[in-house]
């Protein structure tokens, strides 16, 4: 981090989550899955570990926006699940700031988890696979040029 851009820890006001929960959730799932599939296409995710995600159900919940997205990985693609029929194999829940800090590699996932700012429930080994997979991604240099990714 060179101090040029730092994401602070924040929590959006409670009414945002109340509104957010009433909004349709499918756009979140579509956006997330599109991003993951773009990463797949760019071969950023290691194939050996991807096989371990087959048919697993994932849920990402953003607590302070009320947003939620469920998806699975099947036959080489991430696919959105709009109305999950079962509990996810792995679920993440955190405020928006924690996700942003994670994505920009500003904060360590273990630190966020152990400080209770990131909640991970479900299959612990699957969680570890996903964490290590994301840690091993070498984000392309264009991402570093965006203000969000500069750190």
């Amino acid at each position: 981090m060179n101090g040029s851009f730092t994401i602070p820890k924040f929590r959006l006001p409670g009414f945002i989550a109340e509104i957010g929960q009433k909004l349709p959730q499918w756009p979140h799932a579509l956006a997330l899955v599109a991003g993951l599939n773009a990463a797949l296409k760019m071969k950023l995710l290691p194939e050996s570990e991807l096989a371990l995600l087959e048919d697993k159900l994932f849920r990402v919940r953003i607590l302070d926006t009320g947003g939620e997205a469920s998806y699975t990985y099947r036959n080489g693609l991430f696919r959105p699940i709009f109305s999950p029929q079962r509990e996810p194999d792995l679920a993440f829940a955190a405020n928006l700031s924690a996700y942003l800090q994670l994505l920009t590699r500003q904060e360590d996932p273990d630190t966020l988890f152990f400080n209770r700012e990131l909640e991970i429930t479900g299959d612990t080994e699957l969680g570890l696979i996903v964490k290590n997979m994301l840690d091993a991604v070498e984000w392309p240099s264009f991402a570093e040029k965006l203000p969000l990714f500069r750190h």
Binding site: Q106, T111, D135, V137
Partner: protein, 335 residues
């Protein structure tokens, strides 16, 4: 100018390796994607290609790559560990860090030119043990278990020509290094057998109203209140009921942090300072490496003027397990 100890940093992935190199590590240490190393976690570590990329990256910037083969060959599978040694030599790592005496013997005989280090898992705490490994296997360096006081480390250094590496930062465990089977008590697997302590497949986090319970293969290890920092469920760091009281019966989760005694470490002639945490993220590696680099560089200007900056401590405290730090055995008053 005083010669500084090497800063040896962990790499569980290629981005972590690059983070270590970019933030001032003199050497990185890593492992293969299998149980020949003690951080054998899913998705972690290096295959042939990422290791070649990593070695190229580090060498281009004049840094060393050390490879840990620090578990013990299991019965009937000794050849797997020997193959790992051969593969490490083929990859062109600067040194192999070994714990098992049989494997040290194999490596020395098969690859006479290869630089070998004795792993902390080798559990050599005396200069006699270290000098034995030098005589028999020509080890260049030994990593000391985290059980010695600073005076004891100094005594070892005075009585050997083998380079001495000590731990500078990272999570502490019960430190029965190379001999801990505690994890096996709950789940039948431990670092020295399968390369992982309390493997994730046995770990369950159970969220209940007002509390989170964490279990290892069904054994309740701890229960955290909603605002209480959590920890990874290893038996040594659990809270158990003993004679009516519930507390950390074995040890409290904590991190080693030697910043305040860096001048002493420099003075007694330590050759390298190691950071724990190959299982941690590139972010952790960045934060810890740049902090220790800044501290070591400050020492270069003269240890008399060295003082620990609050910003360094704050940065390290953030990533400490249990959010607290200790000097561990280094400043223990008893022996």
């Amino acid at each position: 100018m005083t010669s500084l100890p090497d800063l040896v940093c962990p790499a569980g992935s290629l981005p972590a390796l690059k983070a270590a190199v970019d933030n001032g590590a003199d050497a990185v240490y890593l492992g293969f994607k299998n149980d020949t190393n003690a951080r054998n976690f899913a998705g972690l570590n290096f295959d042939q290609k990422t290791m070649a990329d990593g070695i190229r990256y580090a060498h281009a910037k004049g840094r060393e790559v050390l490879l840990a083969i620090n578990t013990f060959p299991q019965a009937g599978r000794v050849a797997d560990w020997q193959k790992a040694v051969d593969a490490a030599v083929d990859q062109g790592v600067d040194a192999i860090i070994l714990a098992d005496i049989g494997l040290l013997d194999y490596a020395r005989n098969k690859h006479p030119q290869q630089r070998l280090h004795l792993s902390v898992q080798g559990s050599a705490t005396s200069y006699e043990a270290i000098n034995f490994c030098q005589r028999e296997f020509d080890i260049r360096r030994a990593v000391l278990p985290r059980v010695l006081t600073l005076a004891q480390v100094e005594n070892v250094i005075k009585n050997t020509t083998v380079e001495i590496e000590v731990f500078g930062f990272g999570s502490l465990c019960v430190m029965n290094e190379g001999r801990c089977w505690l994890s096996s008590y709950a789940c039948g697997e431990s670092p020295n057998t399968v390369g992982a302590c309390s493997p994730a497949k046995y770990v369950k986090w159970d969220k209940k109203p007002g509390a989170m319970e964490t279990r290892l293969n069904g054994v309740l290890i701890d229960r955290f209140g909603d605002d209480e920092p959590a920890g990874y469920p290893t038996l040594c760091k659990g809270r158990f009921e003993v004679q009516g009281e519930t507390y950390y019966a074995l040890e409290e989760p904590t991190s080693l942090n030697v910043l305040s005694i860096l001048p002493d470490i420099l003075k007694i002639g330590v050759r390298a300072i190691k950071v724990e945490g190959r299982q941690r993220s590139p972010t952790y590696v960045t934060q810890v490496t740049r902090t220790l680099r800044a501290a070591l560089d400050a020492l270069r200007d003269g240890s008399d003027r060295f003082h620990v900056k609050p910003a360094w401590q704050a940065e390290l405290a953030k990533v400490s397990e249990g959010s607290q730090a200790t000097l561990g055995a280094y400043n223990r008053p008893w022996r």
